[in-house]
Symmetry: C2
Subunit: 360 residues, 2 copies
C-alpha cells in the first residue's frame, strides 16, 4: 500500500465550564494545566510526537482562543489553526478540517482528538493510535478508540462492540454495534459486567474522503455549508466562514455520524484515560493527606475530610468541614459540596442571571 498522508485534528473549541472559577469563558479547560505543568492541549499535541508531524497537525478552536493556541503550541504553523467564528459542535469542526484536508490529500488519513482528555500511558496510547490508523488505511472503516471501562461511570457515552474484525499491530479491532448516550447507574453496571462495552473516547480515525462522503450522506446541510467553504483560501476563507458558519447545524460527530454509519471499528484502549470532567477528578492527580484532602496552595486543613482546596495564590484555613470543593480564582470563589460538582453549570447560569457574568 502506498504511503498515505497522515493528519491530526485536535478539537479545542470547547468552552467547558466545569472547572469554574479556574476555567473561564476566556480560558476553558483545554488551556489549563490541570494535571501537571503542561496544559491539556499541550499534552494532547505532545502525545502525537513521532506519529504526526507538527505541519500535519491542525487545531480547530474558537476565534477567541486563537492567541491561547498560538502561545501554547508555538511549533504549529499559523495556517494549521482553524478558528471558528462561532461554535457549531464537533461535526462542523471535523467537517471543516476534512474540507480543507481534502484539497491537500483526499486519500489521507485523519485522526480526530479531543484537546482536553488525560492519558496516563502515552506509549500504549501511541500503539493503539497507530493500530487505529492502520485500520483506517483502506478507507472502508470509520475507526474509533473505545476505552476499557474501569467503573460503572454514568457520565460517559458507551460503545457496544460485536465480532472481532481483524487485528492491527497486535490490537484487535471489533465491529461497533451501537453507540449509547450516558446510561443510568443500573445500565452502566450491566455494561461494565458484560465486558462488551467501551467508553466513547471521542477519538476517531478515518480517511478524509470517507468522512467527507459520510457527512454528505448523513449531514447534507453541513455538507452544503462546507462546499461553500471548500473553494476559498486565506483571507477569503475567514470571510466565508463568517458567512457560512452561523448557519451550520450544531450536531456532534457521535450523534451525526457514529450513531448512523454502518462500517465502524472500535479498538480497545487501555492506556489510563480520563476526561478530567470536573473538580473531583483532579484529586487523582494530586497528593492526598490521611483524611482524603487535597490542597493545591498553602494553608491548614484542620479537622477536615475529603475536601479539595484549589487556591494557588492565597492561604486557606479550613476547620471542621468535609466533602467540599473550595476553589479560588482571585476575583471569584467556589465552595461546593463535592457530590454536586456536576451541577456547576447551574451555578454559572445563576451567576449570569444575577448580573455577575463578569466572572464567568
Amino acid at each position: 500500500m502506498p504511503k498515505q498522508n497522515l493528519f491530526a485534528v485536535i478539537l479545542a473549541g470547547g468552552s467547558g465550564e466545569r472547572f469554574w472559577p479556574l476555567s473561564r469563558r476566556a480560558r476553558p479547560k483545554q488551556f489549563l494545566a490541570l494535571v501537571g505543568e503542561r496544559t491539556m492541549l499541550q499534552l494532547t499535541a505532545e502525545r502525537l510526537a513521532g506519529i504526526v508531524k507538527p505541519q500535519d497537525t491542525f487545531v480547530v478552536t474558537a476565534r477567541a482562543y486563537l492567541d491561547l493556541v498560538r502561545a501554547q503550541l508555538p511549533g504549529l504553523p499559523e495556517e494549521n489553526i482553524l478558528a471558528e467564528p462561532v461554535g457549531r459542535n464537533t461535526a462542523a469542526a471535523v467537517g471543516l478540517a476534512a474540507a480543507l484536508l481534502a484539497r491537500r490529500s483526499p486519500g489521507g488519513i485523519m485522526a480526530v482528538l479531543p484537546a482536553d482528555h488525560y492519558v496516563a500511558d502515552v506509549a500504549r496510547f501511541q500503539a493503539v493510535l497507530r493500530a487505529a490508523i492502520g485500520a483506517a488505511r483502506d478507507g472502508q472503516w470509520v475507526v474509533t478508540i473505545g476505552i476499557t471501562p474501569t467503573r460503572p461511570e454514568t457520565g460517559y457515552g458507551y460503545i457496544c462492540r460485536g465480532e472481532q474484525h481483524a487485528v492491527f499491530m497486535g490490537i484487535p479491532a471489533y465491529r461497533a454495534l451501537r453507540f449509547t448516550e450516558k446510561p443510568d447507574v443500573r445500565q452502566a453496571r450491566e455494561f461494565l459486567a458484560s465486558g462488551r462495552y467501551l467508553w466513547n473516547s471521542g477519538i476517531f480515525v478515518w480517511r478524509v474522503d470517507l468522512i467527507s462522503r459520510l457527512i454528505a450522506r448523513y449531514l447534507p446541510e453541513l455538507h452544503g455549508g462546507l462546499l461553500r467553504l471548500a473553494g476559498t483560501i486565506g483571507d477569503r476563507l475567514a470571510a466565508a466562514m463568517e458567512e457560512v458558519y452561523p448557519d451550520l447545524p450544531g450536531i456532534s460527530v457521535d450523534y451525526g455520524i457514529m450513531e448512523r454509519a454502518p462500517n465502524i471499528l472500535v479498538l480497545p484502549g487501555d492506556f489510563g484515560w480520563d476526561d478530567v470532567g470536573s473538580w473531583p477528578a483532579l484529586e487523582g492527580y494530586r497528593e492526598n493527606d490521611d483524611l482524603g484532602n487535597v490542597l493545591e496552595g498553602r494553608g491548614v486543613l484542620l479537622d477536615t475530610r475529603n475536601t479539595l482546596v484549589y487556591a494557588p495564590h492565597k492561604v486557606v484555613a479550613t476547620l471542621g468541614v468535609e466533602n467540599l470543593i473550595i476553589a479560588d480564582a482571585g476575583d471569584s470563589l467556589l465552595v461546593c459540596r463535592k457530590e454536586r460538582a456536576q451541577e456547576i453549570k447551574r451555578l454559572l447560569a445563576a451567576l449570569k442571571e444575577a448580573g455577575l457574568g463578569e466572572v464567568l
Copy 2:
C-alpha cells in the same frame, strides 16, 4: 455634692483573633466596621456623646494601633491616647489610666469601656451609664453594668446579684455577690432561670482614688510599677513605660479586682448588648435570606443553608453547602463549620506553626 470630673477610658488594646481573616494582628476587631459603617471603636466613642467630652476621653491601646486610633478618632487629643509597649491585660491598662488621671483629678470618676462591644439602644445605654456614674460618685463603690441575659450563653462571665442597694436615676443598683467565669451549659441554664445573674459586660465605673487604692491593695506588684510611671510625663512617660510595662503582671480587672473587692454594685443593663465575639454573631446584623444565609459581597448561594459569606471584594458561588462560615480577605480564606467558629484560635496557631504567620 460638688461637680466631679468625669473621664472615660476605652480599652482598645485587644488583639482579637476571632474574626480572622478579616481581623488581623495589625487590625483587630475593635478597628473593624463589623456592624455598620463605623468601626466598633468609633461606635464606642460616639456612644459617650453628651456624657463625656472628647478631651476627657482616653483610649488605652497597643503601640502598633496608635495610627488606627488616631485615624478613627480624629477628635481625640493626641495625649489622650495611651500606647502600651506590650499588652499586659486589663488591670494594667486601667491602672495606667488611673495613675495619669489621678494627677488631674484624684476625686474624678472614671468609666471603663471595652472598645469592641455592640449596643443596640444607645439612649438606654446612656441612661444606665449615667446611673452607674451616679452610683460611683461617693467613692465607696466599684460599679459595674451587668447585662440582663437573654440566653444560656456559655461564652460570657456572669455576675450574681444580691440585695438592692439603692436606685440611681430610676435604675436599681444591686450588691454584686459573685463574679463567675464562663459556665458550662447546665450552669448557664440555671443562671438564666434564676433571674439573679447578669452577664459581665466589662464596663466599670469608679472614682479614680478608689480604683487606685484597690490596685494598691489587691495588685501590689502592679501598683509598684504604676508608681514608677506616675511621676513621669510626655517623652519621659513613653521611656518609663518601655522600661516598666514588660514587668507588670498580666491580669484582668475581673480576676484581679472584681472577684476580690467587697463593695461592688451592679446595675442591670437591658440595652441590647452583644460582644460580637465571633463570625456567627455577625448574622444578627445582616439581612438573612429565606434559608438563613447571609451574603456580604456579591454572589450566588444555590441550595445553600444557614451559611455566612463574608467576601466584600469577590464573587462567591456556593452549591449544596450548609452551616458554613466563608470569609475571604484577599490574601487568605476561611472556610469553617459554623459550630466550630469558637475554635478559630486553634486554626491560627496551626497556621503559625505551618510557617504561614504572614496572614495572621
